[in-house]
């Protein structure tokens, strides 16, 4: 069967391109506008969510206790949606347009549909915020049935999800068209492969989201009379948990990207890294069970099988990336001559380059704190001493905020010169920002985890009201650690917003002439990121990385087994 003319054939092509002077990549001007629109929306929502974060932290910090309970729970609802959904997904959409067009020299298909998707998402997100602020949906992010919100709240979430789903399908449409039009040779780049993983995860995540929110919407308008609380939880977490794995896959892709931009790191073994992404694809959605481990009605076998991602194969994926990304960075730096001992490459790394410091801080906080605590509290029995305590927000603020958000922030600094085509202003702020934000989030997470270990519940306005025997007085200290950390992190957030808004509004309009912002005159991606030869592989072994990951595993094991010890000390229960 000969298919010679396709609706998207080159003859019908009317896309307008510019050529990036740094990378020589072709940029479809429509895709560029879509990237800008989505990135701007993302930044608007992180600003809003960040303001809410400050208010919440200043309330849970008992010494200040700022908001009243009504506004605490209201702001908490909006904070969850704006950060976990709006900021993340808008940024990821920008990333998906970038990955499926610019990185492949390809064009954006059906631009009108992409704009419709953007409008749906924007309207949905605004609707949710308005309804929550009006006090008609004080149900928190999870909206657990039978807590009932205004139907418009569910509708807002559904509109946003439909828009996002369209973007995901457009990503694949772009990929297919790029392949047919032969815009690139051979396999897609690893970064695009990672984004494709995120997209596949995203599609079934959003379908499960529909399975949770559509019945909830029908229930809120009275069409469905009863909605089972346990069933809703199962469906909701089929959406809520994998949604974070979309962020994970997107973040790991950004890590590979930052490694290439800042030091010219090339993946040492494409197979190794790609198989790790495939592990996410097959196993990570089982992790939805982490939220149902102490729910009634489910047995050990179901809980243990799902919580372990079928033998922790999704964790294996992350452990592979935990090795392969720093190893790629190490080998790149060793090739540049920093090859003495185990760790000279680390000392000589470009620590002033925001993309590099972002990569390191994001990986360390995500892995050492977020990953380790996540696997531990997601263990079936250990969950009994962790469920719904502040240890949970402590875990996911390390993953989603210190990990993903920081990675996205770091990438923004490179998007501005390349896509917005504005000179970055306040470069010295950009240089320090990842450190300030990371340092703050470290304290936030540790403060939360330490409070949770002492029994402090999450989503709770005032724990001192509870009788004196409930939690020890030391929680005042650990909550203060969280509060002070939040102040530092918010400072980092303000620095980010200042640099981004300052650059977009007032930065000099010009074409970028190099990729790195601070360090050197070279373009590592263009000049250094060359495939490894066989002799390179022999000469430059990532020995330092191997030592680091072994240390990581020992830390992991120590935390993990100390939690079993902790569990063994409580009352007998079965």
């Amino acid at each position: 069967m000969a298919v010679t003319t396709l609706p998207w054939s080159k003859d019908n092509e009317n896309a307008v391109y510019r050529t990036c002077p740094v990378t020589s990549l072709k940029v479809d001007m429509v895709a560029e506008k879509l990237i800008i629109a989505n990135a701007v929306a993302a930044v608007v929502f992180i600003a809003l969510g960040g303001l809410f974060a400050l208010l919440l932290a200043l309330t849970r910090w008992q010494a200040i206790h700022l908001l009243n309970p009504v506004w605490f729970y209201r702001v908490l609802t909006a904070h969850g949606f704006d950060m976990l959904v709006a900021w993340m997904v808008f940024f990821e959409c920008a990333g998906l347009y970038f990955g499926s067009t610019v990185l492949l020299n390809a064009r954006q298909v059906t631009p009108w549909l992409a704009w419709v998707a953007f409008a749906l998402m924007a309207v949905g997100a605004l609707l949710v915020n308005v309804i929550v602020m009006l006090g008609r949906a004080d149900v928190l992010f999870t909206a657990y049935v039978p807590l009932k919100a205004d139907p418009l709240f569910y509708l807002g979430v559904i509109l946003f999800a439909v828009g996002a789903l369209v973007v995901l399908f457009l990503f694949f449409a772009n990929l297919i068209v790029a392949k047919r039009e032969k815009r690139y040779e051979g396999s897609i780049p690893l970064v695009v492969f990672g984004l494709a993983t995120a997209t596949i995860l995203g599609i079934y995540t959003l379908l499960e989201g529909a399975a949770a929110f559509v019945p909830a919407f029908l229930w809120s308008v009275g069409i469905i009379e009863n909605l089972d609380a346990a069933l809703y939880r199962n469906l909701f977490w089929g959406f809520g948990h994998p949604a974070q794995q979309v962020n994970l896959a997107a973040m790991v892709s950004v890590w590979y990207m930052l490694g290439q931009i800042t030091v010219g790191a090339v993946p040492l073994n494409e197979k190794f890294s790609r198989v790790a992404f495939v592990c996410y694809l097959f196993f990570i959605n089982l992790g939805s069970a982490h939220h149902l481990l102490v729910d009634p009605g489910l047995g050990f076998t179901w809980k243990a099988t799902n919580t372990s991602y079928a033998m922790y194969l999704a964790v294996l994926g992350s452990l592979i990336h935990a090795f392969s990304i720093p190893a790629a960075v190490e080998v790149a730096l060793r090739r540049q001559g920093h090859k003495r001992g185990l760790l000279e490459w680390l000392r000589k790394a470009p620590w002033g380059e925001p993309g590099f410091s972002t990569l390191v801080i994001s990986m360390v906080l995500f892995g050492w704190i977020g990953g380790v605590t996540g696997v531990t509290i997601g263990t079936e029995q250990i969950n009994m001493v962790a469920h719904n305590t502040l240890r949970l927000p402590g875990h996911f603020h390390a993953t989603v905020v210190a990990g993903t958000t920081l990675a996205f922030m770091g990438l923004t600094y490179y998007v501005i010169p390349l896509i917005f085509r504005r000179e970055l202003v306040l470069k010295s702020w950009a240089k320090w920002q990842p450190y300030v934000f990371g340092f703050g989030m470290l304290f936030v997470s540790i403060g939360m985890i330490a409070s949770g270990l002492q029994g402090v519940p999450r989503r709770h306005w005032d724990i001192t009201f509870v009788s004196a025997t409930a939690v020890p007085g030391t929680v005042n200290l650990t909550l203060a650690v969280m509060g002070i950390g939040a102040l530092i992190a918010v400072t980092g957030g303000i620095m980010y917003l200042t640099v981004v808004l300052g650059s977009v509004l007032f930065g000099a309009k010009r074409e970028a002439h190099r990729l790195t912002l601070v360090s050197g005159d070279e373009n590592p991606l263009v000049n250094l990121a060359k495939p490894l030869t066989a002799s390179d592989e022999h000469r430059f072994q990532p020995k330092g990385t191997f030592a680091i990951v072994i240390a990581f595993l020992m830390f992991f094991a120590a935390y993990y087994f100390s939690n079993w010890w902790l569990l063994g000390r409580t009352w007998i229960v079965k």
Partner: protein, 177 residues
């Protein structure tokens, strides 16, 4: 970000292979710990659950309280009965914003604590023991508990249940034999 070489399906390097092996062994250890603890550990997640509904469960709790009530205490300005049951079945409801009744248990005895919600979802959190369970309307969750320490314990609600959520506290008193 760059298109890989044509043939990228290559064997792993030495360190990659070693790390993969170590990581995989760790994953097996993580998996194995759960069944090991299931058979040998003393703290396992309760699984016994019965279907119920708020009316039916409420009357069960009321009958239970009538049978074993030994006193009354004020919690948040409301009189809540104190109940001292023998080892065996114990019933408690969660509702906005109250745990009912107050339990007086004996250290070392085993109780089958039935908990269900009369309205929205709640979180059953015994402090400072720090044992936490999810409580849902329509499900009678049977938590088989053996207190191993004595004293006064607080029941906190750790699932958001609307505006009075943080006021929802209950008590468990454990006496020595």
């Amino acid at each position: 970000m760059l298109t890989p070489e044509k043939m990228w399906w290559k064997p792993l390097g030495r360190l990659e292979k070693n790390w993969l092996l170590i990581a995989f062994i760790w994953c097996i250890a993580l998996t194995a710990m759960m069944p090991i603890w299931f058979f040998f550990g003393r703290q396992n997640v309760p699984a016994t659950t019965f279907r119920t509904n708020p009316e039916q469960f409420k009357s069960k709790v009321e009958a239970f309280v009538a049978q074993y009530q030994v006193g009354e205490e004020t919690v948040n300005g409301v009189q809540v009965p104190v109940v001292a049951p023998p080892a065996g079945d114990v019933f408690m409801w969660a509702r906005q914003w109250q745990w009912y009744p107050i339990l007086q248990l004996q250290k070392g005895e085993t109780y089958r604590v039935h908990v269900s919600s009369l309205d929205v979802q709640h979180g059953f959190s015994i402090q400072p023991v720090n044992l936490n369970f999810q409580i849902l309307p329509g499900y009678d969750y049977v938590i088989t508990l053996t207190p191993t320490t004595s004293g006064e314990f607080t029941l906190v609600c750790n699932e958001y249940c609307l505006i009075g959520h943080h006021t929802m506290v209950g008590r468990i008193l454990v006496t020595d034999n």
